[in-house]
Subunit: 224 residues, 2 copies
Amino acid sequence: MKPITQNIQDYLKEIYTLTDGGEAASTTALAARLGIAPASVTGMVQKLAGGTHPLVNYRKHQGVTLTPEGKRAALEVIRHHRLLETYLVTMLGYSWDNVHEEACRLEHFISEEFESRIAVALGNPIRDPHGELIPTPELEMPSDESLALSALRPPQKAVIVRVRADDSALLRHLESLGLVPGAKIQAVEYSLFDHNLRIQVDEKLPIVVGSAISDKIFVVCNPL
Amino acid sequence: MKPITQNIQDYLKEIYTLTDGGEAASTTALAARLGIAPASVTGMVQKLAGGTHPLVNYRKHQGVTLTPEGKRAALEVIRHHRLLETYLVTMLGYSWDNVHEEACRLEHFISEEFESRIAVALGNPIRDPHGELIPTPELEMPSDESLALSALRPPQKAVIVRVRADDSALLRHLESLGLVPGAKIQAVEYSLFDHNLRIQVDEKLPIVVGSAISDKIFVVCNPL
DNA sequence: AATAAAAATTAGGTGTGACTAAATTATAGT
DNA sequence: ACTATAATTTAGTCACACCTAATTTTTATT
Ligand SMILES: [Mn+2]
Ligand SMILES: [Mn+2]
Ligand SMILES: [Mn+2]
Ligand SMILES: [Mn+2]
């Protein structure tokens, strides 16, 4: 029962997101996400894969995946992160482009009591300010049937539920375009060549977005 | 400009409280407060006293005091701690005997923005839930003219402004006796021999407190 | 002033988590 | 199949902040 340090939590969190698509996470990808040298990742990953209750599965040159134990630990931190972001925006007036850093620090240090109290204060929310799903107290990740805005075709209509971005500048840009969770979208025109999509946001004048943006926005077509 | 780590912050905070009475803090006293070995303290203190901008003044066998730089850093952490305790109690429903640990962890990781936002949300409070003074945003410690309850003599009257205790069990005990900030006290009887003081709290039936308790409670005699 | 006790420091060592440089293994193009 | 490139691992270091054991310095007692 060795302790799960802040560092290890950050590793697990990144492994979780990198393996979300089903594939093992490569050393290099992890190193890039964590901002450290690949060699350092190899060393840490070997440690995490050892012992009696390994947090990750790892075979040389084959990449890393989470064990059930590791996944639980990752979801715990992700729940902290997303609840914190929600709390900072809703209760303390942070802007949505400014919460990530604060949440990423505090997520490692709040107690279960703190987690539970802010969850109650917020009414046990399911999504954070960016629409990311918040794992339940039992650490289940809710399922999400949204699709990328880039898959929308005229004349489909949809509602934004999620924006996948941590970057401040991008978030501010999206907000200025009205591309925030809850916004109503209608696809107006699609260009096969550059994958640009012309959309109408909340019945305003149409705007054109490239795939760098439309890949990061997720919508549901027939919301209840 | 080497970074002030969490560990260093805890050292500075303890040195601040130990040197509050004017005397230098001894290695042993610091070690006891921090729960580490005296030899470790010596090592750290030597480091803190070195470099171009030392955080402490230190001469072998003479104890430690804070430099102006070190004092600033200590007050910054103390402000964080006390604002956090106040926020946890006022906004999140923590009980006053349960906030210390959470605040002592988070104090090292909140940003200046977080500090400022909770201060505003609380209306820039001057005292934390135990009545401890909160350093100003400019890191000045307000002055406190309170005196120990143990110095009160019949038939003096006073109001509790501060309770000096981090220990949960003691705090719960004090609360059960009504000995909380704001309570009105009248000294009824004093025993020279065992220093017991019989007091009336908020016009209830008198109780007797020993000096272990009355030394930790601070009052003002003529509140405005 | 001598000496016993207490306080503080030095010496040597540990685990964590990073680094760089060098070596190895895998992948892709010809 | 061969080879160049890219990905990954190994080897060797380092800073941090702690530890125990041994030594030195201070202080208190007689
Ligand atoms: Mn985030
Ligand atoms: Mn983090
Ligand atoms: Mn406290
Ligand atoms: Mn602390």
